[in-house]
Symmetry: C2
Subunit: 339 residues, 2 copies
DNA sequence: CTGAAAGCGCTAACAC
DNA sequence: GTGTTAGCGCTTTCAG
């Protein structure tokens, strides 16, 4: 505990009133005489009394507090989301605490997860992992909880997410429109379902264009540089290498660019690259990266609003809400070079 | 409140034991018969009981929970610090919650600040503002609290920070060593004291080199692009413009680079630029930015350790602890071109 | 208007 | 071993 405990009782004693007259005075309740109120407030001031919020909360008061759970990984997009959610929550006079952990169901962590669940009026889960057991608990209890950018499986909880599948399709169609036919896809992990959905969009676009998806062109980068480098190398070493690469996120796309540069390939003259997310670094890349921009602001606003609706007691509505990503064309994609 | 409240009492009833036997069984206390324990655990499982952490906490249990307060602004360096602190805390089996607000003493916010102060075993304040009233409270109460990168004023609380003054001096000496004599300094706000200290180091180096600091070369960028652009323009329009610019952080240095490029000036041939922080973007800048790297990891580790020492009841020690920043030479600085 | 008492959910003394 | 009791600090009936 942080503070030296000055309790309301002590204030009451100092002011010569009963405990609950003090309570009334502090809370500016109406049923107190001006004189008593003055004495209590003076005593509170002098003793530097601060109410114990835990105690209040345990009595069931609203805290006007929202919790965000984030996986320690993936601070890329997450950071923007947190900022926007924070802003929107504050606008609506809610505070926000962020809890960051690798796995919320870790034996060690469970205490804090529960604590926050107890403490907060509602929870926002950012990019939770499909294995996170806390999702089962939340689903079962139908707590006030909204999932953000979760697509790993069907779940009986409200979800707000970028439309990954449509985005994946848009990215691929952009490449198709430039004349590319051999388009590779580098996927990340399946933990949140983001990459998986983007891949579905990629396949959608290919099939709509009458191109059979080639398994050799779908490789695993796993959202990390090491595997992405290896995957890119494999792709380039193919008998018939791709003329364009769609990486499931910008981080991997940047790594692809790096490998390409190392092999002396020109982008987009020799090969085109497109990412997903539009992270801050994207526009600084060499060349600036074409990508799909996450509608972080809209996602955040919608997620907060739906959470508040639940808190306000509106009927439980586990609908999935998808928000479109915007294609941002920069210099890393270009027309297929005919030989 | 998030959960449907299943209390320990209900579990006890269901198991046909007393409240307190149930408590013992749940906590794996030794003084319970195996049979009672089994019955209680079965009941708890069936009812999906989860202990109310608030209640436990109110009784005074340790939460093994640390709180980080960050100002919503300045997510640049802050984000790295949060990551490292989080990692170190977890290594030591502490959880972490992050509270992000513009001003912690805002009437509206005070509830949450207090709540977290009650809840957490200790608090880490990241780059707090000098005006934050919560600092006065913390100082007065001598709570378990460590300030990170605060240099705005003397304060009776432990502080861990990068050595801004030495860093500012190193940056300036680097420029001096390249032959520069007219070196400008773009400072940020005085809110946290970071910029102010870096400026002191700049002046230190200049004076040590026998150069009188020129007020015309010290301009305000205020950590934002708009004012930084204006400041840079002013500098370049001087009768005798600087040959090198030291920006108090990388963000401003990047803006400087942008203005220089727009004016057709070559970096570092025409003018050198150095920043501070070594944010991720720094190495991607055009040209890659020479800067001072924040020892985020060391700062985080030291801050956590000092906080834990306080929590463990070691004597209060409000010493300031400074950690050196490392000069990272990239391509934005070069020798003075003689005309 | 004010005070006494109950109780939020839990754990730690103290009996049995 | 197990149950009973007394709080943690606060708000809220319910009587005065």
């Amino acid at each position: 505990m942080m503070r030296k405990a000055v309790t309301l009782q002590q204030v009451a004693d100092a002011a010569g009133v009963s405990l609950n007259t003090a309570s009334r005075a502090i809370r500016a309740d109406r049923y107190v005489s001006d004189e008593a109120r003055a004495r209590v407030q003076e005593a509170a001031e002098r003793l530097q009394y601060r109410p114990n919020v835990l105690a209040r909360r345990m009595r069931g008061d609203k805290a006007r507090l929202l919790g965000i759970f984030v996986n320690a990984i993936g601070w890329g997009v997450v950071h923007e989301l947190v900022d926007h959610i924070s802003e929107e929550a504050r606008r609506l006079d809610f505070d926000l605490v962020v809890f960051s952990a690798q796995n919320f169901h870790d034996r060690r962590r469970i205490g804090t997860s529960d604590l926050l669940a107890d403490l907060c009026d509602g929870l926002l889960m950012l990019l939770p992992n499909r294995e996170d057991k806390i999702l089962d608990v939340l689903e079962r209890e139908r707590g006030n909880c909204v999932l953000v950018s979760f697509a790993a499986r069907e779940i009986g909880l409200p979800v707000v997410s970028v439309d990954n599948r449509a985005g994946g399709r848009t990215a691929t169609e952009h490449l198709l429109g430039l004349g590319h036919r051999r388009i590779a896809f580098i996927h990340g992990s399946h933990a949140t379902g983001q990459s998986t959905e983007r891949q579905k969009g990629y396949v959608d676009a290919l099939e709509a264009a009458g191109i059979a998806p080639d398994p050799a062109l779908m490789v695993l980068g796993n959202f990390n540089p090491v595997e992405t480098r290896a995957a890119t190398t494999d792709l380039l070493d193919l008998a018939e290498p791709p003329t364009a690469i769609f990486a499931a996120n910008d981080g991997m796309a940047l790594t692809v660019l790096e490998v390409l540069r190392a092999r002396g390939l020109a982008v987009p003259a020799d090969i085109s690259v497109i990412g997903f997310d539009d992270m801050p670094l994207a526009s600084y890349a060499q060349p600036p990266l074409t990508t799909l921009r996450q509608p972080s602001h809209d996602i955040a606003v919608r997620a907060v609003h739906r959470l508040l609706a639940m808190i306000d007691g509106e009927p439980f509505d586990p609908a999935r809400e998808l928000i479109a990503a915007e294609l941002v064309v920069r210099a890393s994609t270009g027309p297929l070079r005919r030989n």
